[in-house]
């Protein structure tokens, strides 16, 4: 290819960030929107073109370890790329009218004079890092992009939000940096294993053929698994997220949960399972139990949560548990289902969190107990909340349902009891969504409550399009399923490992 499409997908947001840096006010927002829109268009173009041409790029980066600047796109990374580029557009759209500022609770010494325009810059940088991680066809490049995403996110959390945002940022940093260093340790181990072949290469295509001894494979798997379990996040590695949801600006929480944390599930499929199928099978029972604990624990926490955004992130943690369940059921059906669920989850939880953002900013509070009867005062937002809630709880018709069904059907054959428990967890979803809706929107508003401005047309449009997309793909899940299933999800390697296992017996 003469046009480096995939590099452009990464470079355009960076370029936009540089352009947006000195601009103020509406110009800055426009640059942000145009750039993110352009990136989305490029991502769509790349996905379409990749069906006909080989878009992969490859330039040597560091000879001594065999690291390459190598990009490629397939069903798994392509679908997620579309999701995150679309979500960035939605976030930047919603942001119009809700300038991120330190909330009133921040005292004078904590309030720092960050220009709100920096928000655009940081979000675009984050988008570039995540796109690079998704498109990376080289382990070292993935690791670099994965760790680099930390910096703009840290700044996003630390610059805007409540009184304890610095603490939230520090905790986010500690967990994410740990995750990054675990990944780095895994990468170094992998490089060492690869170097035994003489001319080392960290291209994913080359790493697939490296023979790794069993013990080493398990060690490396554990490192990769922990890195992505923190990123996911999976219970018990999740404790940074609820604090962040309370303290950070809600749009920042949305970016981190829906855009950045996609890498957790993605990395789990592509690297932890894809590179070490045998070790994944060895660890699967334990991970399945962890996944179930995540589903149930986070589900119960969501049902009890009194904070709007915290409710949203607990939903997300519960779903991450479900995604991990699908991945570690280790069948082609469940892996495809989990990959689909990853996209569906990102979109639906983003819609839920964006509705939460708008409610928080319009009403000035995020405490669920203070909201009785909001349905009368904000009818459109109530409706959007309900629809996105229904999407997240996987009502038939939404993409989440199709993905969930795929996972459950695939897992049923191998793990009946665990699958039943997972089904129970998804029913829990119905409980917490309806509970939240009831607490927020039903009942009579107090008579002296001031009138509130309902969602603007722009906000309705942005959230509506996201929900429409999950509905569209939910009604025709084959579109996504076929595209995702084309990707190498490590299923061949798993089948081979299974066969070897069966042969051994």
């Amino acid at each position: 290819m003469i046009v480096p499409w995939l590099t452009l997908v990464i470079a355009i947001p960076l370029f936009g960030a540089v352009v947006a840096l000195p601009l103020r006010g509406v110009h800055n927002r426009r640059v942000g929107l145009v750039t993110s829109g352009l990136t989305l268009a490029l991502a769509i173009a790349a996905v379409v073109l990749s069906r006909f041409y080989d878009l992969s790029e490859q330039v040597l980066w560091l000879r001594s370890v065999g690291a390459w600047y190598a990009l490629n796109i397939d069903g798994l990374s392509g679908s997620l790329l579309l999701v995150i580029t679309a979500l960035v557009v939605a976030v930047l759209l919603i942001r119009s009218g809700l300038e991120p500022t330190a909330t009133a609770t921040a005292t004078a010494t904590e309030r720092i004079n960050v220009r709100p325009e920096i928000f655009t810059v940081l979000v675009l940088c984050t988008e570039a890092c995540i796109s690079a991680a998704l498109l990376a066809a080289d382990l070292v490049l993935f690791c670099i992009a994965f760790e680099m995403a930390l910096l703009p996110c840290y700044a996003l959390v630390g610059c805007w939000g409540g009184a304890k945002r610095t603490l939230a940022a520090a905790r986010f940093l500690a967990f994410t940096l740990t995750s990054g260093f675990l990944l780095l340790a895994g990468v170094i181990g992998m490089l060492t294993a690869a170097s035994a072949t003489g001319r080392p290469s960290t291209l994913l295509s080359a790493l697939g053929t490296v023979a790794i001894p069993e013990g080493m494979g398990r060690l490396l798997f554990v490192l990769f698994f922990l890195a992505f379990a923190i990123k996911g996040p999976l219970v018990p590695f999740h404790s940074w997220l609820p604090l962040l949801a309370r303290e950070a600006h809600p749009l920042v929480t949305t970016v981190i949960v829906a855009v950045v944390d996609v890498l957790g599930g993605y990395g789990m499929i592509r690297f932890a399972v894809g590179l070490f199928p045998a070790a994944a099978a060895w660890a699967a029972p334990a991970v399945l139990v962890l996944a179930l604990i995540s589903i149930w624990y986070a589900g119960i926490a969501a049902a009890g949560s009194r904070h709007l955004l915290q409710f949203g992130v607990y939903t997300s943690i519960s779903h991450t548990g479900f995604i991990m369940f699908g991945i570690f059921a280790l069948t082609p059906e469940t892996l495809t289902g989990a990959a689909m669920y990853l996209s569906a989850h990102a979109v639906s939880v983003a819609a839920l969190l964006l509705v939460g953002t708008v409610i928080w900013v319009t009403t000035g509070t995020a405490h669920i107990g203070e909201f009785a009867g909001l349905g009368r005062r904000l009818p459109v937002l109530a409706g959007l909340f309900l629809i996105s809630g229904l999407a997240t709880l996987a009502l038939p018709g939404f993409l989440n349902f199709a993905a969930e069904l795929q996972v459950l059907v695939g897992a049923w054959e191998h793990h009946r009891v665990l699958t039943l428990l997972a089904i129970g967890g998804t029913l829990l979803g119905a409980v917490y969504v309806t509970l939240a809706y009831q607490r927020l929107f039903t009942g009579q508003p107090s008579p002296d409550a001031p009138p509130l401005k309902d969602a603007s047309l722009l906000q309705r449009g942005a959230i509506g399009v996201l929900l429409a997309a999950t509905l569209l793909f939910g009604c025709a899940p084959e579109l996504l399923r076929e595209y995702v299933a084309e990707a190498d999800l490590g299923t061949a390697a798993i089948a081979a490992a299974d066969a070897a296992d069966a042969g051994g017996k």
């Binding site: 000879r63 720092i112 004079n113 700044a155 940096l177 060492t192 170097s195």
Partner: protein, 519 residues
């Protein structure tokens, strides 16, 4: 027969040493008004000329030999170390000529022996008297470093060590602000430093007792030959290595670093942290690989342990520091551990050459190439931000820097990220190489420990970053001064750091070729 001296190969050292002698003459002959200018011109000319001669020798691929009757090995690693040292010295010179406080007074005391605030001090300040002897002292020290990194027998190593250290003991004590701290630092550095030299000397004697020669090649031969008693050899190895580990600042020889880093004038701290570490690392590498390479099974484990403990100690102790210079001293101990790892990995001891571009010598060089600009730039910016407050200013002067001086904060941010080893900076590339090398040589546990404690080190660096970017400035913060030469220096440091992080390909090729040790 008269010994042959390869003057052309040794020209860089001779130039630096010669100009240092000229500088002493200039102190006596030039009027006070002009001394500063004359000394700065002389020093920069010496460094530039030495750099030029080094590069010319480097280009001439045949000019690799053990010169001066086996005393100085002018080989690829020595040339690379000379280039690094001279470039680092040029940067330090820029920092040293910076005039920070009270309308342009240099950071060095006019007369070290005069108590601060005394009438003599005021007279000196009114006369704008300055300590221009620092420049010849600096050049003497530099020439010692250049000899030490290339030393091919124990005598020249010891001479290099002393010529490097003696001026440094003086320079550390010359800070204008907080002079008592500076004096204390100088005394501590002197007492511990001479003990380390004595230990090195003792080790030399024992090695001589074993091999009957000071020559690196002869010692290697003696080890390879059949012999009955190893006691002298092992003791000598331990003692000579300890002397150099002291200069490197590795645990348990690190005790001088926090006080000296804090008390010394910032330019001298930068000099110790960059050129000092480069010298110690190269000297240790040559000592352990060339004469003592056959003993690697014996020194590998203790060195690895020392490296890991240094990384751990520097990380944990650095975490609670509030003074940035002191914090950088502790993280400097951690970096010393990282510098020790490639040596301890002992890959290709006998040739030094890289195997598929990855060998101890080339990885050490790469680490130093990335470490030099990051450290130099960090100390340069520290001088700016601490300004007249002197070395005991705490994190408060960094608060909200991003909203007062966005570019200074941004530059400091990039350099600190490189010191942590986050991607996009040279620190990541080189940390990756060091750790891959270590794991490949069977030190997986050291890799895990190093990564875990790097996480802890990041705590200190991120406290500075947090203060700069996420805290509101205090109202009493003094303005940050600016000067053109330092701005250029800092910008260069940032560019090199980012370049090595994003496009290390070419640098990797170049550095892989600079690994062959001559014996």
């Amino acid at each position: 027969m008269a010994p042959t001296i390869e003057y052309q190969l040794l020209l860089p050292v001779i130039v630096v040493f010669g100009v240092a002698v000229m500088g002493i003459g200039a102190e006596a002959l030039v009027v006070r008004r002009l001394r500063f200018v004359v000394q700065v011109v002389l020093t920069s000319a010496a460094i530039a000329a030495a750099l030029l001669f080094t590069i010319r020798n480097w280009m001439d691929g045949d000019a690799r030999t053990i010169a001066a009757v086996g005393a100085i090995a002018v080989d690829n690693p020595a040339l690379a170390a000379w280039v690094l040292l001279l470039v680092g010295a040029a940067g330090v010179l820029v920092v040293a000529t910076e005039r920070i406080s009270n309308g342009g007074i240099s950071a060095f005391a006019a007369q070290a022996a005069v108590p601060p605030g005394s009438p003599e001090e005021n007279t000196a300040e009114n006369l704008r008297a300055e300590q221009t002897e620092i420049f010849p002292l600096f050049l003497f020290s530099l020439s010692g470093m250049m000899v030490l990194v290339a030393a091919s027998n124990l005598i020249s190593a010891f001479v290099g060590l002393e010529v490097m250290s003696l001026p440094l003991y003086l320079l550390v004590g010359l800070a204008r602000r907080n002079r008592l701290l500076s004096h204390e630092a100088a005394l501590k550095y002197f007492l511990l430093g001479v003990s380390a030299s004595a230990v090195f000397l003792y080790g030399m004697a024992l090695l001589f007792g074993f091999a009957g020669s000071f020559d690196y090649a002869s010692i290697a031969t003696a080890i390879a030959a059949p012999h009955s008693d190893d006691t002298l050899l092992y003791l000598g190895t331990a003692l000579t290595a300890s002397g150099l580990l002291f200069k490197l600042g590795v645990f348990p020889f690190h005790a001088w670093m926090p006080d000296v880093y804090t008390g010394a004038p910032t330019a001298i701290t930068a000099y110790l942290a960059t050129c000092g570490k480069i010298t110690a690392a190269y000297a240790l590498l040559r000592l352990l690989f060339v004469p003592l390479g056959a003993l690697r099974w014996s020194w590998q484990l203790p060195l690895t342990v020392a490296a890991v403990v240094s990384i751990a100690f520097g990380a944990v102790a650095g975490l609670t520091q509030n003074d940035v210079k002191r914090g950088l001293a502790y993280t400097g101990i951690a970096h010393a551990g990282f510098l020790l790892l490639p040596i301890a990995a002992a890959a290709t001891v006998h040739t030094g050459e890289s195997v598929s571009d990855l060998g101890s010598v080339s990885v050490l060089l790469f680490y130093l190439v990335a470490y030099l600009p990051a450290t130099l730039g960090t100390f340069a910016l520290t001088l700016w931000v601490h300004g007249a407050d002197g070395p005991d200013a705490d994190l408060a002067s960094w608060r909200g820097l991003a909203y007062r001086e966005p570019f200074v904060a941004l530059a400091m941010g990039v350099l600190l990220l490189s010191l942590i080893g986050l991607p996009g900076t040279g620190g990541f590339t080189t940390k990756l190489l060091v750790l891959v090398l270590a794991w490949r040589n069977g030190m997986a546990w050291a890799v895990f420990a190093a990564l875990a404690f790097t996480l802890v080190t990041a705590g200190f660096y991120f406290r500075v970053l947090q203060a700069m970017f996420l805290k509101a400035p205090l109202t009493a913060c003094p303005a940050v001064p600016h000067s053109k030469p330092m701005s250029v220096l800092v910008v260069l440091c940032v560019i090199i750091t980012v370049y090595l992080g994003l496009f290390p390909t070419q640098a990797g090729y170049l550095i892989a070729d600079m690994a062959g040790l001559l014996r």
